[in-house]
């Protein structure tokens, strides 16, 4: 346990030093703030549920941005250190490989969580400061959105580690990471949509569709946040989907958690078998 924390602490230290933390936080805060104030222009500031609008726009932002950031910081974690030669020295110390991996995970997740919390929190804080009325339900939806965003980030960090533990070169890891991002964030939904259009509801059952949605962490996240509460699903235009959705929020959360844990376990396995 102590080794994990030592490695995590070093990861955070490095993140602070090479400006990763600063850059991510500023990026997220900047985008969140502009979405909050520009995005509320059409609904007007008198909207009772200003924060709900923010939740909808921020979760859409998260789907694109957080997986990208997570993959960017994670794809290099193992293969990069091996290529630079720092891993050889680290593993000669009294520390297990799974401890190194888990320590990095904790460190990277802390960086991501910090940036998300601060960046998105800035948006909510600014909104509250302008005097918008925000009820408890909206606050809960907002907090849930941040929590699930961090979980989504965890899933993609874990996927990035798996890639990093399997490939031989950094360049390959980078290419695969970009590919994974494209597939999960853009192509998967388009393909799914195309499939549904072609199928016209003939063959594919609802449960099959549900399974397909759970197979993509980004979709699980989207469903979880956009259909999660009544007010938000109304704003997101997903009210129809929400009524028909047979996936409970807990099932969606479980899918996200599995997307973080399974790749992480596989990455640990691949890393432990790797010859240096």
């Amino acid at each position: 346990m102590r080794n994990i924390l030592i490695v995590a602490r070093k990861e955070i230290q490095e993140g602070l030093r090479n400006r990763w933390v600063l850059a991510t936080t500023l990026l997220l805060a900047g985008l969140a703030l502009s979405l909050t104030f520009l995005g509320s222009a059409p609904t007007g500031t008198v909207g009772v549920r200003a924060l709900d609008v923010v939740v909808v726009s921020l979760s859409s932002l998260t789907i694109f941005l957080l997986p990208l950031i997570a993959l960017l910081i994670s794809h290099d974690a193992i293969v990069g250190e091996m290529e630079r030669g720092t891993m050889l020295l680290l593993l000669s110390y009294p520390v297990g490989r799974w401890q190194v991996l888990l320590g990095k995970f904790v460190g990277h997740l802390a960086i991501l969580a910090f940036a998300t919390l601060l960046g998105y929190g800035a948006a909510a804080g600014a909104l509250a400061a302008t005097g918008a009325e925000i009820d408890t339900e909206s606050w809960i939806a907002f907090a849930t959105m941040i929590g699930s965003s961090i979980l989504l980030g965890a899933a993609f960090i874990a996927v990035g580690y798996l890639v990093s533990a399997l490939v031989r070169e950094r360049g390959t890891a980078g290419g695969i990471a970009i590919g994974i991002w494209l597939v999960f964030v853009l192509i998967y939904d388009m393909a799914l949509l195309g499939l549904l259009v072609v199928d016209q509801g003939q063959i594919l059952s609802g449960s099959f569709l549900n399974a397909l949605l759970l197979l993509n962490p980004a979709d699980a996240y989207r469903l979880f946040n956009l259909t999660g509460s009544v007010g938000i699903s109304a704003f997101s235009g997903m009210a129809g989907v929400a009524q028909n959705a047979t996936l409970s929020p807990s099932a969606l959360l479980a899918a996200l958690a599995a997307w973080a844990l399974v790749p992480l376990a596989l990455a640990a396995l691949a890393f432990s078998r790797r010859e240096l």
Binding site: E14, S92, Y93, P94, E275, L276
Partner: protein, 306 residues
């Protein structure tokens, strides 16, 4: 089973390549041992095996009584390792880097400044490692290997990239540790690099141990001839066998010089003749076999038996 490192019949294959073939040796306490061989001779592989970073295909390894690959970290806490061309994360300072490694070895933070002082990096302790020169990184690498008073030090090509003054102080530190009972294993690609510092030399070639012993022992085994050079007068030059006696293996070089390859037991005899009264010799040089020649001899003799 008294050594700190015991290696028995170890074989390591990477796919079809046999990096280490049936190597056995034991390293005792308080000894500096040099592992010498070309690139690809299996030196680094042997060190990785001792660290437990890779597992032997067959054979057994024990370091401080433990199997290094078994996941027991107790032995690793008493082990220092300096990899070949060591590298560190460029974003952290020298002090932060060393403090990180100290925490992993459960060494108190206050052990860091004295170590930096010892390798002469105090002035650069708060600079990022990315700004360090090659020699400074190598010194930081040595500092981390010295954390926690190691009982076994594995140093992979430690002096490459160090200037002569640093090399000197490097060997002083190593000697001091050895004096306190540590086992020091140095690897090098040339015997001359070691400048006769090692008490014992293990020569590796293509994964096979070809020689193991002190430098004197190796010299004796190799029976390399001593080269004797004589500056001879014109008269003497005409009838060398007459005054030198029946010596095989002599040749003329640069006009007035005669060079003789004298085997160890014939050396004195040749010298006596050459310095005999009346011998037409004006000057003489005795060149003992160099470390490079000794090294080449063992490599060649192993190639010949293959």
């Amino acid at each position: 089973m008294t050594g700190t490192v015991e290696i028995r019949n170890v074989v390591k294959r990477f796919g079809k390549v046999e990096a280490v073939r049936d190597v056995s040796f034991s390293l005792p306490e308080g000894e500096t041992v040099a592992l010498v061989g070309h690139n690809g001779a299996g030196k680094t592989t042997l060190m990785k095996l001792m660290l437990g970073l890779i597992r032997p295909t067959s054979g057994s390894i024990a370091v401080l009584g433990d199997d290094p690959a078994a996941g027991q970290f107790e032995a690793r806490r008493r082990l220092g390792y300096l990899p070949e061309s060591v590298s560190f994360n460029a974003a952290l300072t020298g002090h932060e880097t060393l403090a990180f490694y100290a925490r992993l070895k459960r060494e108190p933070n206050k052990s860091v400044p004295p170590l930096l002082e010892r390798v002469g990096l105090t002035h650069a302790a708060n600079r990022r490692v990315g700004t360090y020169s090659k020699g400074m990184r190598q010194r930081l690498g040595l500092a981390q290997a010295l954390l926690g008073e190691p009982r076994v030090l594995l140093l992979d090509e430690p002096t490459t990239g160090l200037d002569p003054a640093l090399r000197q102080s490097f060997y002083e530190i190593v000697e001091e540790l050895r004096g306190r009972g540590a086992t020091v294993l140095l690897s090098s690609h040339a015997l001359t690099e070691l400048e006769e510092r090692a008490g014992r030399v293990i020569i590796m070639n293509r994964g096979v141990k070809v020689a193991d012993g002190t430098l004197d022992e190796l010299r004796r085994i190799a029976r390399l001839p001593t080269r004797i050079r004589l500056k001879v007068t014109d008269v003497g030059l005409a009838n060398v066998p007459n005054w030198l006696g029946p010596v095989e293996g002599w040749r003329r070089i640069n006009g007035h010089m005669v060079e003789i390859d004298a085997s160890p037991e014939r050396k004195i005899e040749v010298l006596r003749r050459a310095t005999d009264e009346g011998a037409p010799v004006e000057d003489l040089d005795v060149v003992p076999p160099t470390l490079d020649e000794l090294y080449a001899h063992f490599l060649l003799s192993q190639e010949a038996t293959r």
